[in-house]
Structure formats: structure tokens, C-alpha cells
């Protein structure tokens, strides 16, 4: 797999707002790359630098080997993105908005119809952009980003403000694009669970520095334990049993449930032990995943909502 996007020792500072120092990362072909960090960590700044909206103080960014400062037009031919919100011209129809972008990127009209079909906007495409719901705007944004068949797509919080069905749609679409079309996707999101489900590689950034880059497995393995909520009956017997097995890892005991802090791989043994002792498990859910746990540990418990 070749490298699609490469950042080398990138630095950026302006005024009092977020400073990026020494950011280096590589996104490979067909990879979904998660970019994770608390508010003000420098995620959007990094994305804007990759898309050429911000200048780079030092370091290099290249897309398929084209340096974005020296060879801007060639680099931009392979990249697309949505920064912050999918902002388009409200008084124009969805189709006109796509047409403008298609002309600028050299995409054909047939391609417009294709991407409209892909995001399922055929019925509303002639309506004005300002009449769309947020979900539709988001989908049109993705359609626009797909117009010129980019090798890599940059998405800044693509599921922001979407309902669960919308989130699932976007997630499925991104997976489809990455894993069947070979497109690389660089995505920042504040929903960690989603990152875990969607991304192949996750990069954690805080205060403008990259803290860790690795596959989801690497980050969760050996990391801290997650917080899980058991709904058990009978409760007294269950609590006694848990205290016997994992004495110092019971986080909280309520009437209906009990929270325990265990590693993911320990769950199986624990479940078996409970069932062997005639304790019924009515429910088991993750309150805080292991990725979240490692994220908290890595960033020192900062605000996750990025």
C-alpha cells in the first residue's frame, strides 16, 4: 500500500490560537484514518493546512508525492474535504452547487448524477440548498467531495449533528469507499466509539502534538481497562461473587446494576464465572470503552469532545 498523504514535521503558530508542533503522520491507500483530540487540540488547524487553507510555518505536506505548497494544483487534484460544516450557496440548488464544484474540479455532468445517486439525493437535488436538513447537507457535502474521484477525502466531524440513522449511513458509506473503492479517508470525530468501529488507524493529538498513532487494536491492547455495566440477578449473590473474583475493581453498586472496571479480554471469564454460579446476565454494556480509557490516559483526562 502506497502512502497517499504524508505530513513531515509540520509546525504552525498564529496569535493565541492553537499551535501545531512537529506533526508527522502518514495515511495509506484505502485506509480510514481517525484523527482524535480534545477541543483546541489543533485538529481543524491540521486539516486546513492539509487542504491548503492555512500556510505551513515549516515542514512539508504532500499528497501522492506532490508538495502542497510547491505543486498546489497537482496536489489538490487528488484530495477533497469538508471542513467544519458543508457550507454551500444557500440560494442555489443542490445541483448548481455540485455543478460549480464539478466545473472547478473538472468533473463531468454524468459524474454529478453518479454521486447524487450514491448519496441518495435524486429527489431533492433541484431544491435550494438552504431548504435541506442538516443530514441532507452533510450528504451533499460528501457527494461534492466525491465528484472528482479523489484519492483521499478529509472529513472534519462528518457525523456532527446527525441522528443515529444518519451516522450509520455515513459510516457505511465511508467504509464502502475505503474498503471497496480504495479511497483513503482522513476523519476527525468526537465520538470515540464510532472511531473504534470505523477507523483502521487512530491518531491522538493534544495541544498541537501527536501523542500516539496506532491501529485500534494496538491502542486498546495493553491499555487501561474499560468501564462495563452489568445488569444481574440476583443482585446480592452477584455482588458477592464479583467481590470474590475482582475485589478492587467494582466501581459502583446500584439496585439494578453494577459497574466494573475490567479489560475487554477479561469479560469472557467473568461472564462464565457468573453464569456458573446461577447469576443471570440481563444486560452488559460498555460505559467507557477501552479506547476511551486509553485516550483519557494519553491526554491526561482532557475534554474529549473535539
Amino acid at each position: 500500500m502506497s502512502d497517499v498523504l504524508v505530513l513531515e514535521n509540520v509546525y504552525k503558530s498564529f496569535g493565541s490560537r492553537g499551535i501545531i508542533s512537529d506533526v508527522s503522520l502518514t495515511v495509506k491507500e484505502g485506509e480510514v484514518f481517525g484523527f482524535l483530540g480534545p477541543n483546541g487540540a489543533g485538529k481543524t488547524t491540521t486539516i486546513k493546512m492539509i487542504l491548503g487553507l492555512l500556510s505551513i510555518d515549516s515542514g512539508h505536506i504532500s499528497i501522492l508525492g506532490n508538495d502542497i505548497e510547491k505543486n498546489f494544483e497537482a496536489a489538490m487534484r487528488h484530495i477533497s474535504g469538508i471542513v467544519e460544516n458543508p457550507d454551500m450557496y444557500g440560494y442555489l440548488s443542490g445541483y448548481d452547487n455540485l455543478l460549480i464544484h464539478a466545473r472547478a474540479c473538472g468533473a463531468t455532468k454524468e459524474r454529478i448524477d453518479e454521486v447524487v445517486q450514491l448519496v441518495g439525493m435524486q429527489l431533492r437535488i433541484r431544491d435550494k440548498f438552504k431548504s435541506y436538513s442538516l443530514g441532507m447537507k452533510q450528504r451533499l457535502g460528501v457527494a461534492q467531495a466525491l465528484l472528482h474521484n479523489p484519492k483521499i477525502m478529509i472529513l472534519d466531524e462528518p457525523t456532527n449533528g446527525l441522528d443515529p440513522a444518519g451516522i450509520k449511513e455515513v459510516r457505511d458509506l465511508l467504509r464502502y469507499l475505503a474498503h471497496t473503492q480504495g479511497m483513503s479517508i482522513f476523519v476527525s470525530s468526537h465520538i470515540l466509539q464510532e472511531m473504534q468501529q470505523m477507523c483502521d488507524t487512530v491518531c491522538i493529538i493534544n495541544n498541537g502534538r501527536i501523542l500516539r498513532i496506532g491501529s485500534v487494536e494496538e491502542l486498546t491492547k495493553g491499555g487501561g481497562a474499560g468501564l462495563y455495566r452489568y445488569r444481574l440477578r440476583p443482585m446480592e449473590q452477584a455482588v458477592a461473587l464479583l467481590q470474590e473474583n475482582i475485589p478492587d475493581r467494582i466501581a459502583a453498586v446500584h439496585d439494578e446494576f453494577v459497574d466494573v472496571r475490567v479489560k475487554e479480554e477479561e469479560l469472557d471469564t467473568l461472564n462464565r464465572r457468573l453464569m456458573e454460579n446461577n447469576v443471570s446476565i440481563y444486560g452488559l454494556s460498555a460505559v467507557e470503552t477501552s479506547l476511551e480509557q486509553s485516550f483519557m490516559e494519553i491526554t491526561g483526562g482532557g475534554n474529549i469532545v473535539g
Binding site: K48, L53, R77, S80, E84, D87, Y89, L92, A104, C105
Partner: protein
């Protein structure tokens, strides 16, 4: 590469022309233009109106004089004035006719003769002299008439006979000879021999160009204003041109104008240019364009371009700022095009929009003026002094050229609005700031001219505001009549200078806008 640019321009067009507010604003501009055309036309209408004929006016004068004579039967001057008016009416000599002056002079001399040389106003209880000294014997405009007319009875008699014979012959060439003799003999005063020469040359011009002179309407006590029969006829404008030549030559000789202001070098150059224009008009028989002809109306209507500058400022002020405001700038900049291409596509669109608005404005003015005047005289020629030389050209062509030059400051303000738009990234601020500079500039200039008390402040001519009134360099049908142009801030300024200053400002504004747009971060 060019196709690449064209795609961006097409995008900008789509964005602008599909915006409803574009058409609302355009509609308002068209309506306002039509409105101003109607107002313009109505003003010409009311300027016409009813005015009594010269015969009526003379008859009123007669009634008045008869009334005075009843009260004062011995008053010789009043009686002779009555005789003069009667003679004019009987012989159908209109107030413009050169003979009018001779008639008045004749009867005045007669009154002098009868009152034995007494000058009116000296006798007690005499009332006002009706025929006044020095007021009538002046073809064209005011000539310093002879101060000392202490003629002997014989001289007076001789002169009266001469006047009579000229009137009888009805030959204006004899009248010219008579006048030249008056100047030579010092009866019509000149301050110096050079001035005398100028005055003689003027009369020679009448003969040379075969122009029948007109009487001195301004000093005719019994005729006021131009009646309906006082069209801008052939002799009237020619006499005016000759008078312009005479006045300007005398001013140059004296080194001061009619109001006693000292002439600057530049003013002298203007006066000399006007002389050349007038001479060329006479030699090519090119009448000035009148206000209510097709071309005159077109010129005054098409010069109303302040609306277009407002239109351009509103669009240019929003063209970058609105992209920043709506966040669409990000989508615009992440396409595979360098920022300078995007900058130029927007700049070209603004020029295109200005061109459309100007064409619309001119077309409306053209059709409107044509409807009222049936396009009469559309091919008229005109003599104008532009760029320091006197040329004769079809006036329609000149109007178009003048219109295009007057547009230049509009473009500069458009560039300023674009710069503001990029730098502030706020539509409202850039539009308001540019408008304030445009209108406030004139106020600042006014204050400066008061503060400087007529002195020229150094460097002031390099200010943008000093160079935006290009119409003061380009005579129009109206200013051509006035002779001379409104004085500029600094006497040394020329059209070329102002255009160069505007160009430098435009380039600077665009350069700052371009540099800022291409370099600044999109936060």
C-alpha cells in the same frame, strides 16, 4: 490554461446571476435611471414656458414711456426713446438685429442735439435717462464705450447722418466699417493699442466669416430674456464665439479675467485653447450642441453614472466577503486552482458587471433621448479641445469617449471596495467604508480648500479625491457654452495626470487585494 480560467469565470457568473438580489438591485438601478431621465426632460420643459414676444415687450415699454411723458412733457430723452421704439416696431427690427443699436444711438444723439448737449440727469426734476450713455452702441457684448463724447454740433450732425445712411442701406458690412472707425478714433475706448488691435480684429472676424452681427441684447432696456422666437440661431452662436475670443484675448493681454482675478499659467492655456476652439468652430461652421437637441439630452442623461458606482461598490464589497461570511470560501479554495486564478475570475466578473450596467445605462439614455427628439442631429460634428489639441469630430463619438473616461473613477472605487472586501472579510463594512470614502472625500476636499484659503497645498493633487472629477477636464455641451472649466485643485493638473493617478490607485488597491487574498490564512 485559458479554458481553466474561463471555467472559474463561468462559476462566478452562475453564483452572481442566480442570486435574486443581483436582479433586484439591477432593477432598482434601471428604475432610478429612467426616473432621472424623466426629471431631466421635465426640467427642460419648464425652462421653456411662455414668454412674450419682442413686439409685446416694446409695446409695454411704449406705454410706460408715454405715461412718463405725460407727467414730464419737456423731457426730451423720453420723447426720443418713444421715437426709437416706434421706429423699431415700424421697420420690424427685432432686438437681435444689429440695426437696433444704431437706432438707439441715433435717437440718443438727437436727444442730445435737442437738449443742446446737456447730459441727462444733470437737470433738476428730470427723472431717469431712458437712453443711457455707452449702453447701446455695442454689437456683441459690453464694449467700453467712449467716455468723452463731447462732440461739437457739427460732429454730432455728421455722425447722425452716417447712422442714417447705414440704416437705410441695411448693409451690415458698413456697420462693421463704422465700428472699426469708432475704435480707431477712440470713440469706443481701448486701454491700449494692443487692446485696440484685438477689438479691430474681432470686427474683421465678422466680415471674414460673413457673420451678420447681433445687437447688444443685454443692454436693451425694453427687451428682457429670450422669447420663443429667440432660437439658438446661426448668428447668435457665432457672435457668442467671437465674443469669447475677444474676452479671452483681452484677459490674456491684461493678465486678469473679467472679475479681476490674476490668471495662472494653466488658466491662460485654457483661455488660449478656448480661442482656438472658437476660431475652429467659426472656420468649420460647426454650431455648438444645444441642450435640448438629441445629443445634448443624451450627454446630460448618460453622464449620470453615480448610480453605477454604487452598484459596483455593493457587488465588489460583497464578492469576497460573502464567501468568507457563508464559509463557502473553503470549498472554493480547495479546488485545484491557485488562489490568484480565483482572484482574477472575480475581478473580471466585476468588470463584466460594470460593463453591462454601463451599456444598459447608455442604451436607456440613448433610446430615451431619441424618443423625445426623434434622433435629430445624431451625426452633428463638434469642435472640442481635448488632450491639448483642437479637433473636429462627430459629437456622438465624443459623448461615448467622454462617457468611457468618466467611468474610470468608478473602476477605482470598485477596486477599493474589492480590497476592503478581502481585507475586512465583511460585506457591510467594506461597502460602508468605500461609500464613506467616496462621499466623504468631497467633504474633505471642501474643508481643505477652505482651510488652505485658495493656496495649493503641496501633494494634495496626488490624493484620490482630487482626481475623481474628470468631467472638469472634458467640456460638455453645457460647459462648452460657458467657456472654460471649473478650476481643479491644482492648476497644473491635466486629464492625463488624473487618469495616471487613478490608474496607480487602482493598481495599488488590486495589488493589496490580490496579495492579501493569495496569502492570508482562512481561519
Amino acid at each position: 490554461m485559458l479554458a481553466n480560467h474561463y471555467v472559474l469565470l463561468k462559476n462566478e457568473r452562475l453564483k452572481l446571476y442566480k442570486k435574486p438580489s443581483t436582479w433586484v438591485l439591477m432593477g432598482v438601478i434601471v428604475l432610478l435611471t429612467l426616473f432621472s431621465l424623466v426629471i431631466n426632460k421635465l426640467m427642460f420643459r419648464s425652462a421653456g414656458g411662455y414668454s412674450p414676444s419682442w413686439q409685446e415687450q416694446y409695446n409695454w415699454g411704449l406705454e410706460d414711456l408715454n405715461g412718463q411723458l405725460k407727467e414730464n412733457p419737456e423731457e426730451i430723452y423720453t420723447a426720443q426713446s418713444i421715437e426709437a421704439l416706434k421706429y423699431l416696431l415700424e421697420n420690424n427690427i427685432s432686438p437681435q438685429d444689429w440695426r437696433t443699436d444704431l437706432v438707439f444711438e441715433y435717437y440718443n444723439l438727437k436727444a442730445e442735439q435737442l437738449s443742446k448737449g446737456e447730459i441727462p440727469g444733470q437737470k433738476q426734476n428730470e427723472g431717469k435717462p431712458i437712453i443711457q450713455h455707452g449702453d447701446w452702441a455695442k454689437p456683441g457684448m459690453e464694449y467700453g464705450y467712449a467716455e468723452n463724447r463731447n462732440m461739437t454740433d457739427g460732429e454730432r450732425q455728421e455722425r447722425m447722418e452716417k447712422l442714417q445712411s447705414i440704416l437705410k442701406s441695411n448693409d451690415w458690412r458698413k456697420f462693421i466699417d463704422f465700428k472699426i472707425d469708432d475704435i480707431k478714433s477712440g470713440l469706443i475706448g481701448s486701454n491700449s493699442d494692443q487692446e485696440k488691435q484685438v477689438n479691430i480684429e474681432m470686427y474683421e472676424l465678422y466680415r471674414q466669416h460673413n457673420i451678420v452681427p447681433i445687437s447688444d441684447i443685454n443692454n436693451n432696456l425694453y427687451y428682457r430674456g429670450y422669447g420663443p422666437n429667440q432660437e439658438n440661431n446661426d448668428f447668435l452662436w457665432k457672435s457668442r464665439e467671437i465674443e469669447t475670443i475677444r474676452q479671452n484675448k483681452l484677459s490674456v493681454l491684461r493678465g486678469e479675467d473679467e472679475n479681476g482675478n490674476l490668471l495662472t499659467k494653466n488658466r491662460i492655456r485654457n483661455l488660449e485653447q478656448d480661442i482656438n476652439v472658437a476660431l475652429k468652430r467659426l472656420s468649420t461652421n460647426t454650431a455648438p450642441i444645444s441642450y435640448n437637441s438629441f445629443l445634448g439630452l443624451l450627454e446630460s442623461s448618460a453622464s449620470e453614472i453615480s448610480l453605477i458606482s454604487i452598484l459596483l461598490i455593493v457587488y465588489a464589497g460583497g464578492i469576497f466577503a460573502s464567501e468568507y461570511g457563508s464559509g463557502t470560501i473553503k470549498m472554493l479554495l480547495i479546488t485545484p486552482h491557485k488562489r490568484n486564478k480565483i482572484f482574477w475570475s472575480k475581478t473580471i466578473l466585476m468588470m463584466e458587471l460594470t460593463a453591462i450596467a454601463l451599456a444598459l445605462n447608455f442604451a436607456l439614455a440613448f433610446i430615451f433621448s431619441g424618443v423625445f427628439t426623434a434622433f435629430k442631429g445624431i451625426g452633428s460634428m463638434q469642435v472640442i479641445s481635448v488632450f491639448g489639441s483642437v479637433v473636429q469630430l462627430p459629437y456622438l463619438l465624443y459623448i461615448v469617449l467622454r462617457f468611457l473616461i468618466l467611468v474610470l473613477p468608478v473602476l477605482t472605487y470598485g477596486a477599493l471596495a474589492m480590497m476592503m472586501s478581502v481585507v475586512t472579510r465583511k460585506s457591510a463594512i467594506s461597502i460602508a467604508a468605500t461609500m464613506m470614502l467616496m462621499f466623504g472625500g468631497n467633504i474633505v476636499m471642501g474643508i481643505l480648500s477652505v482651510v488652505s484659503q485658495g493656496k495649493v497645498l503641496p501633494g494634495i493633487k496626488f490624493l484620490l479625491f482630487s482626481n475623481t472629477e474628470l468631467s472638469s477636464y472634458l467640456p460638455s455641451a453645457s460647459s462648452a457654452f460657458m467657456g472654460g472649466m471649473s478650476s481643479m485643485v491644482d492648476g497644473t493638473m491635466t486629464l492625463g495626470f488624473s487618469v495616471a493617478v487613478l490608474a496607480v490607485y487602482t493598481v495599488c488597491f488590486l495589488w493589496i487585494a490580490h496579495d492579501s487574498f493569495c496569502r492570508r490564512d482562512v481561519k
